[in-house]
């Protein structure tokens, strides 16, 4: 935790321009093999993108995830300290659990492991109708299937008519169609709502 705080303090100073500037070359040149090692192979038309994986987390060994793709392929995904993890909001790699759905983007290493740069857990994007509105959740209809959308204070935001997101959800109306980005709760028909796009 202290390191997170230290790091934030360092980055805060850097962002506001309170630190001096150093040329990258001044830190010593990188060996060519190191510089080229990270070059990503490009996707070939008609072939799966090698730098992308999706599926369900079926195993976790420290920071190495085993993922069963929805197309049957198996993926090994390495999380690192610099991987961005989204699970309803940006969070830490501890949040990746067995049973979670996953999208990952990164660099495919020679041993077949995908070194993840970005991971999105349980993310869903649904076109739904608002069936009813409660004090802490919305009952949604997704093509006839009921979905409960939980409102998370401080996180859930609404975008009305494309204007900047606000936390005020009182312009939502029953019977209207909305688009919801959220995090699915595995094994249920419930989601936590990150952003809801609606006509005001």
């Amino acid at each position: 935790m202290t390191t997170t705080m230290d790091r934030r303090a360092l980055l805060t100073r850097a962002a506001l321009g309170a630190t001096g500037l150093v040329a990258a070359s001044a830190m010593g040149s990188l060996a060519p093999e190191a510089a080229f090692a990270a070059d990503q192979p490009f996707a070939v038309a008609g072939q799966p993108d090698p730098n992308f994986a999706e599926g369900l987390i079926t195993g976790r060994n420290k920071d190495l995830l085993q993922v069963q793709g929805s197309d049957g392929r198996l993926h090994k995904i390495q999380l690192t300290g610099v991987t961005s993890i989204w699970k309803l909001r940006p969070t830490t790699i501890d949040e990746a659990r067995i049973g979670d759905g996953l999208y990952a983007r990164g660099v495919k290493l020679p041993d077949g492991v995908l070194a993840a740069e970005s991971v999105w857990l349980n993310i869903v994007n649904l076109d739904v109708m608002v069936n009813s509105i409660g004090r802490s959740s919305l009952n949604l209809d997704h093509h006839g299937q009921k979905v409960v959308g939980h409102v998370q204070p401080g996180i859930t935001a609404a975008v009305y008519n494309g204007t900047p997101a606000v936390s005020d959800l009182t312009l939502l109306k029953v019977g209207r169609h909305v688009q919801v980005i959220g995090a699915w709760r595995p094994g249920t028909n419930e989601i936590d709502i990150a952003t809801i796009y609606a006509a005001g």
């Binding site: 321009g17 990258a24 830190m27 006839g144």
Partner: protein, 272 residues
């Protein structure tokens, strides 16, 4: 006597409901498509689903007219009861075997089979059984006909297809009077708003080619919200950190070396 009259009135309700239900199965350009969404393809095969769907509609019309028109015969409610036994059984089958299938009950609206649909078919079965106890026609039921209004109301309440005509307007009214989420508003700026502002900023455009990840971390400090991304600068692992002001001011950015913590890049004199 009252029971006799009430029972005698039932064919009117059953007949009208059957006509309404049949219209959805027979009239309309996409009847075949509707049939595919029901549990029928599973039950009778893909090819036969649409003809069976239409045939059921045809049977409903014939039965409806038979119930509505004289003479009174015990065979008519018996046939209706048999049909509703079939419907109830079909709905229970669909609920158990093909839960995602549309009920197909009253045509046009595609709603999955719910307990309400099963209760509704059972209600119709009960009314047709009640009709078996009388030999009177509905036209001689007298004031008992008014009781049909109550039954019709129960039918409407059990019809998911009709929710939008009464249930949604009621919920809308409730939300208008007092919005349940009025208390859910929080004071902070949602991250989605920060992210949007960030992505439209010249600072973001200046470093977008260096970014490798989605948002990694974010925090608030005094008048600013900070958002960090994993980046790569000159082949070195780095972090791009944006400072997004809560009000006024332009978005700032710096790229910081992950190993040394030193600032590698900070675009200056960005266009506003």
């Amino acid at each position: 006597m009252a029971w006799q009259q009430l029972a005698a009135a039932q064919p009117l309700l059953i007949g009208l409901i059957l006509l309404w239900s049949a219209s959805g199965k027979l009239i309309g350009p996409d009847v075949a498509e509707q049939a595919k969404k029901t549990a029928l393809p599973r039950l009778v095969g893909e090819q036969r689903a649409a003809p069976v769907y239409r045939t059921v509609g045809g049977i409903e019309v014939v039965l409806a007219l038979a119930l509505l028109l004289p003479p009174v015969s015990i065979l008519k409610p018996l046939a209706a009861a048999a049909l509703f036994v079939g419907f109830t059984g079909y709905l229970i089958y669909a609920k158990l075997v093909v839960p995602e299938a549309s009920c197909g009950c009253t045509g046009a609206a595609a709603k999955p089979v719910g307990y309400r649909a099963i209760a509704r078919a059972s209600l119709l079965l009960a009314t047709s059984l009640a009709t078996l106890t009388t030999t009177e026609g509905w036209w001689s039921a007298g004031p008992a006909t008014l009781a049909l209004l109550l039954e019709a109301a129960a039918y409407v309440v059990l019809s998911a297809e009709l929710d939008r005509y009464w249930l949604l307007p009621l919920r809308r009214l409730r939300v208008r009077l007092s919005h349940p989420l009025a208390g859910a508003k929080s004071t902070g700026t949602p991250l989605a708003a920060t992210q949007r502002r960030l992505m439209h900023s010249p600072a973001y455009r200046a470093v977008t080619g260096l970014l490798r990840s989605d948002i990694r971390d974010y925090w608030d400090d005094e008048d600013w919200r900070y958002v960090s991304y994993t980046a790569k600068y000159d082949g070195r692992p780095a972090t791009a950190v944006f400072a997004v002001p809560h009000t006024g001011d332009a978005v700032r950015v710096a790229v910081v070396d992950d190993d040394s913590g030193q600032t590698l890049y900070r675009p200056v004199a960005l266009p506003a």
